[in-house]
């Protein structure tokens, strides 16, 4: 499990780093920020890192709510960018408009409140050691509810974005379309796992031994979304430089190639 997590984190970090040059020119900056926040959040809960930081930062386990807030930020940015990319004003409103910001603020306040109420005496990433404490359960559930809220919205929006392949597209555009499509499918698969994790929370509460197994889900989500985003990037690069001919005669000449 730790090896898988490490690989996923390294890949996520690398793919984020690859985006830095373009972001310096102003392209895809939010996605880079999202990548940094998310990788950092996942990195901080790796036990040795967590233990080391917990000694430095005042307040037992104060690192954990910090990771939650970082992840909130990362997920908020990703959802906002996806909503904007999909061109859905309603989704943008629910993610980063007034309702979306209220949800974020509420989640953040509740997470901090439950953390303070939980009072876990020993250093433990994700407060896993006190998993059967009701406030820890609420603490975990609150963040999952917020993530699930965003992910359910995203799953629906992404699922709606699949149309037929472009009419009269060139071979290169079709290749880009396939990459893009696969990317969206992977992201969707990743988002679906988040509400699944939420539904499994009572299980980890009642049967703490299942906790480790369930932790596979967030890492899978990270892996799927990271690869999915990368495929979208590949799609853009594949389609780039292609003369975009949407003239009627152009479409007409290419219609036969579709079949």
């Amino acid at each position: 499990m730790t090896i898988v997590t490490a690989v996923v984190l390294v890949v996520a970090a690398l793919l984020t780093a690859f985006r830095v040059p373009a972001s310096a020119k102003g392209r895809g900056r939010p996605i880079v920020v999202c990548g940094v926040l998310t990788v950092l959040a996942f990195l901080l809960v790796v036990p040795p890192v967590y233990a080391a930081l917990d000694r430095v930062i005042p307040g037992e386990n104060a690192v954990d709510p910090l990771t939650k807030i970082l992840l909130f930020g990362g997920m908020f940015i990703l959802a906002d960018q996806l909503a904007k990319g999909l061109g859905s004003p309603r989704l943008v409103r629910l993610v980063s408009g007034l309702p979306g910001r209220v949800a974020l603020a509420l989640a953040a306040v509740l997470v901090v409140t439950f953390f303070l109420l939980a009072d876990v005496p020993v250093s433990s990433p994700q407060l896993a050691v006190a998993n059967d404490d009701p406030f820890v359960a609420l603490y975990t559930a609150t963040s999952l509810v917020y993530f699930s809220y965003l992910c359910v919205l995203l799953v629906v929006a992404v699922a709606r974005s699949f149309g037929p392949p472009p009419v009269g597209a060139s071979a290169r555009e079709l290749r880009a379309d396939r990459l893009d499509r696969l990317g969206r499918q992977l992201m969707m698969a990743g988002f679906v796992l988040v509400p699944v994790r939420l539904v499994l929370t009572p299980l980890t509460f009642l049967r703490p031994e299942t906790y480790d197994a369930v932790q596979v889900l967030p890492v899978s989500t990270l892996a799927l979304v990271v690869v999915g985003l990368w495929l979208v990037r590949l799609a853009r690069r594949t389609a780039d430089g292609e003369v975009r001919d949407v003239s009627f005669a152009g479409l007409l000449a290419r219609v036969r190639r579709d079949r």
Binding site: L82, R236, F248
Partner: protein, 243 residues
Amino acid sequence: MAVDAREFRRWAESVGLPSAVATLARTLDVSRATLQAQFVRGRVAEQTVVTAARAAGTGPVAALSAFSDFAGLADRVTLPTVAELLSQTTYIDVSMEVVARIAGPLGEVGDRYPEPPLPTLDGVRSWFNAVDDGELRRRVSEAAGIVPQGLSTSLTDNKLRPQLAVLAADLAGVSAASGLVVTGLVTPEEGGWPAHARRGALAGLGELELIEHMTERSRHAARIVGRAVEEQARVQKFRDTLG
């Protein structure tokens, strides 16, 4: 849906095509695996029959008539109606006709825009609508035992299975091969459409009819180009934001 593989073997033998799959695939210049799969499934695609007929030097429509699913097809081939021909023209064809009427024969310029190859953009649905008496969708889906929604989806995708295309043409009372022509399975000539029939149909229109047809086709083209532009902008925005 396709024709029976045993019938295909019998027919292939009768027109002198090799019976071994490998040789046949080479003769037809199709993938051996595809052909093999069709034989294993026991159904050979109509497209294969058409390719084989061309290789054997017989007319595809006559070849299809040899199969029980398309029995008597060649006997029901008549001249296409003007409405059918017009449904397969674009606003560019109409514009050429307008210019030709004013400026005289276009010569070389006209050759640069030949009649569009079939299927044309949204041409299958255009044809279906042109032969539709208002009840054709229902009648075709009832006769074929499919849901009307499936037929509409297929038309939206600019597709129509050969058997449905023939069925629709028969029910609409037009030439049985017309549906195969507009879906691009057979060429207009193979389907019994006279050479340059579409240009001829345009040339035969009175000015008012021509203007009305141009309006209709322009609106049609605007819808297609508009959708393509919109779709492209949508995709571009998605990739620019996340890529």
